[in-house]
Assembly symmetry: C2
Amino acid sequence: MEPAIKYRLIHQDKYTGARTGEIITPHGTFPTPMFMPVGTQASVKSIAPEELDEMGAGIILANTYHLWLQPGEDLVEQAGGLHKFMNWDKGILTDSGGFQVFSLAKHRDIKEEGVTFKDPSSGRTMFLSPEKAIQVENALGPDIMMSFDECPPYFETYDYIKKSVERTSRWAERGLKAHQNPTNQGLFGIVQGAGFKALRQQSARDLVSMDFPGYSVGGLSVGESKEEMNRVLEFTTPLLPENKPRYLMGVGTADSLIDGVIRGIDMFDCVLPTRIARNGTCMTSHGRLVVKNSQYARDFNPLDDNCDCYVCRNYTRAYIRHLIHVNETFGIRLTSYHNLYFLIHLMEDMREAIKNDQVLEFREMVFEQYGFNEENARNF
Amino acid sequence: MEPAIKYRLIHQDKYTGARTGEIITPHGTFPTPMFMPVGTQASVKSIAPEELDEMGAGIILANTYHLWLQPGEDLVEQAGGLHKFMNWDKGILTDSGGFQVFSLAKHRDIKEEGVTFKDPSSGRTMFLSPEKAIQVENALGPDIMMSFDECPPYFETYDYIKKSVERTSRWAERGLKAHQNPTNQGLFGIVQGAGFKALRQQSARDLVSMDFPGYSVGGLSVGESKEEMNRVLEFTTPLLPENKPRYLMGVGTADSLIDGVIRGIDMFDCVLPTRIARNGTCMTSHGRLVVKNSQYARDFNPLDDNCDCYVCRNYTRAYIRHLIHVNETFGIRLTSYHNLYFLIHLMEDMREAIKNDQVLEFREMVFEQYGFNEENARNF
């Protein structure tokens, strides 16, 4: 059987091994490395599908947990699937709901069978298992589905993480068996193991033996340092097959994207660009810019003078600051657009740098300009 | 001197006298009758300028009162004027702030010189006069400016309204003298007089003698019935010059737009379409549709099956209802877009009906389909 998701390598940077390629999905092919905007509730907050397309997003995320609760996967299925429901005909990836169960839900009870928890918004008692997650994802109909995994706290004991990794492997296998639509939806495995090399090896070995069409590195960007994340990536990505996509979950700062690609990652997602945008904070080539601050009240420059996005071509900091100041939602639309474009465009530049074997020079230039090389560099 | 704003009549309906034409401004020509979207704070809520253009809005409104307070007219002037500030190169009309002073401000003190009041958001004591309003409007730089008028309550005594009308005429004259940029900005006079024919006549006579390039009918849509509004329009619009634009302020329901055009009106504005959109209410050819209601949860039809707008071509009631239900702002973007398109398109159809001398048939068809002919018809 032909897998639903295929990876084609185009070029690897001579010095770092960073790779550029493309991922072929049932809804089109997108170039990698790629940053994927997050549309938790079947909408990338305040942004239209046409705008995502225009900024070069070949794939977006949606969240199984949220859509399972509202509007319900059966409604989305009745609508003709997530693509049709939200008017987006390119790639969609859904997480499994595992991360949300472990981060949002209250009164959690984790058993081998699955997780019982209370939905914080409705108060209802819910049960999510590997089979249930896959059933929901099959109904939603994304191109890429994630396995239902246990996402443990990063700083736990070896024994705790080992048990969690083994359960995640058993859950991955159960998910694979439950998967009803492997020709049109590719199910990815999630490598766990926190900071323990032996456990990352064990997790990768288990999952690779199950022959998923792609793999993600999970359990990172949950509070550990950037150095720690890079250390883990360095010994984890080499454990993954070279002919399949590699996805680092929940990472959305410019430095971590670049450092992730250098360590062999192809795909990233994060709510960060749209979340900080709603607070009037922008990502620019010169670093973080809090455009709502009063210093920009009469600043008639674009958000980023190195950016050619719709927002930077048409609007000034003063105008955007005014909109945010008087609670006009169009301001947030503009900052959200710009931030998403910034990360998508950063990965576009990264692809060029890889093709030219200039990844290290590119990293140095971006880090220097953004201010990541400074002491006490701000986080995003 | 050539006036900044010109009107060209194209055709009048044989049976009603409803007229279609075009208004020539320093920022382009737009066809009439026209509904003008309101961008109170230099943004039509949640909608981009390109979208306004796409839906056929040849002119939009902004509010002098709001922009005077925030970000301040000097900042907008420094930005290169309102068109450049908000990235809109077609027509802009600003009100004078008069209506807001009378409707929003607290602790108002009206004197012949002007109005002293407390700004409700900052608590500052402010003073607005005919000269100050014009100075602010000159700095903002719209194509059409409105005179600073007194907008009295509708149901007041003849003597009260007579004094108010006379003051409004004196204020209009002071504004005309204060106007610094008549070659690029057309200042309109506002006819007041509540429901009194003699006072409307007096107001119109005063203002017409001052030779404004356009006139509005003010003091309507403030609580009186639709029949009453139509009665006043019937004797007021014939008092206005045929070779100049006529603008009915603050009207935005489908029935009132049609009935206004039949009585000789060319331009309308109202916050209604975007305001009700934010509450999940849509205008459709079949009447008002509260899409957030649970009955639309699994309704996969467009908002309006007779509408060819971006929203109706791409999204279902079920999806929009979901977005509003889970507080995704993209839902409000969609309902706002649709409602604005609905009124702009209604006026486009009206222009066609006028050209074909079929205004009464068109009115009957729209009223019947929308439900305006029913007993206890809903207001919008």
